[in-house]
């Protein structure tokens, strides 16, 4: 089994999907290992609630397994899996916005501010990111946190490349405007 897994490690995503289509569940294990951190990081930045983010991630891999026959190997696996994860995330965000409308906002368990300098900066960043509108937050997270290329983002979200670029720019400027006063007061506090 170990040697078999070692062999699977060398395979590309497309080949692993072909193995999965042939009925080898070990291929799914490899794919989960490859993508779980990247995807979780992306989902968690969108839905800042660990439990829900894990549920979405689990559902993503379940869908990969269930829809394995519909995967076309000429397309990039990462784009496919990101599309599934982001569609589920979008559904969750829509549901949350509906809840918020009725005053039933679910808790978002970001880490609180810490004494440590970097910890506090991270906290400020997380807060500012979570305040961005969904469409801008999504492209910002994909570009600046998950480090996807503009082309990959455009394919994953099925929007034009120009729109992706302008949204990323806009998101960065919004973040900068939001963070500027906080950072100024924070810098003064830190100096003192």
């Amino acid at each position: 089994m170990a040697t078999k897994l070692m062999g699977l490690d060398q395979l590309s995503d497309q080949k692993l999907m072909a193995q999965l289509q042939d009925g080898n569940p070990a291929a799914l294990e490899r794919l989960v290992e490859r993508y779980k951190s990247k995807l979780f990081n992306t989902i968690y930045r969108m839905v800042p609630d660990r439990e829900t983010a894990e549920d979405i991630l689990q559902e993503t891999f379940l869908r990969v397994y269930r829809e394995r026959r519909s995967y076309n190997p000429i397309y990039c696996f990462s784009t496919w899996v990101y599309t599934i994860a982001l569609n589920l995330t979008k559904n969750e965000l829509k549901r949350r916005s509906r809840w918020r409308l009725f005053g039933l906002a679910p808790n978002e368990n970001h880490s609180g501010p810490t004494e440590e300098r970097q910890g506090h900066l991270n906290y400020l960043m997380e807060q500012a990111i979570s305040k961005l509108p969904n469409r801008y937050r999504m492209v910002f997270v994909l570009r600046d946190i998950s480090q996807l290329s503009y082309e990959e983002i455009a394919q994953t979200l099925s929007i034009p490349l120009g729109t992706v670029k302008s949204r990323v720019n806009r998101a960065r400027l919004m973040l900068q405007e939001n963070l500027k006063p906080k950072l100024e007061s924070y810098a003064q506090l830190w100096k003192s």
């Binding site: 689990q58 379940l62 397994y65 600046d144 960065r172 900068q176 950072l183």
Partner: protein, 209 residues
């Protein structure tokens, strides 16, 4: 020549070095002499750096195991898969209860309406001793003000009516009550017409059933 607004718009692309050579140089020149844009550039740089330095979040250690368990039906546990919140679990109850309430209202309305309809069917309106309808054809009694309308009303009928009422009055005077015959004619039909009172103008208009 670029202004500050335009520079601010394309600064993120400038920081990623995605602009063409000329535009890149132009912004570089602008930033040298514009303290505002320089400040924006500096803070954008920091933000980009911080967003890259955000700590990597990891799912729980047994995540892969859980995924593999959930795909194999043999080991499938009935426990927690994807937690469905209580609002979603009972979401179906909203349209069902709305439908049930609607149904109760409709049934209630029907049961209230049926006895009155039955009473309507048995009601017959008589004007001057003349029965207007038989139980076979139901009479609709309008709500609100009504007018008694005589059909086939012409000059001859008017004379005939006047003659008959005169004769009736005389016969009443001579022979007492109801001895002089009844007010009826083959040509006349008397029916009830609902009317609408115009509050402003004061006149009444007949409205169809």
């Amino acid at each position: 020549m670029l202004n500050c607004g335009r520079v601010k718009q394309i600064l993120p692309s400038y920081l990623e070095q995605k602009l063409d050579q000329d535009l890149h140089q132009e912004i570089q020149e602008h930033i040298k002499f514009c303290s505002n844009c320089l400040e924006t550039e500096q803070s954008l740089k920091k933000i980009l750096q911080w967003s890259r330095d955000l700590p990597e979040e990891e799912p729980s250690l047994d995540f892969t195991e859980r995924v593999l368990q959930s795909i194999s039906p043999a080991v499938k546990t009935p426990g927690k898969q994807v937690s469905v919140p209580i609002f979603r679990r009972w979401a179906w109850a909203v349209p069902v209860s709305a439908f049930a309430i609607l149904l109760i209202f409709v049934l209630n309305y029907q049961s209230e309406k049926l006895p009155s309809q039955a009473a309507d069917e048995q009601t017959a309106i008589s004007t001057g001793g003349q029965e207007l309808s038989q139980s076979a054809s139901p009479v609709i009694v309008p709500e609100g003000p009504v007018e008694f309308v005589m059909d086939n009303w012409d000059h001859r009928s008017l004379q005939e009516y006047g003659e008959m009422t005169r004769m009736q009055r005389e016969s009443r005077a001579l022979f007492g009550d109801n001895q002089g015959g009844q007010l009826q004619s083959e040509n006349w039909r008397v029916y009830v017409m609902p009317v609408v009172q115009n509050q402003m103008a004061g006149y009444r208009t007949r409205r169809p059933y």
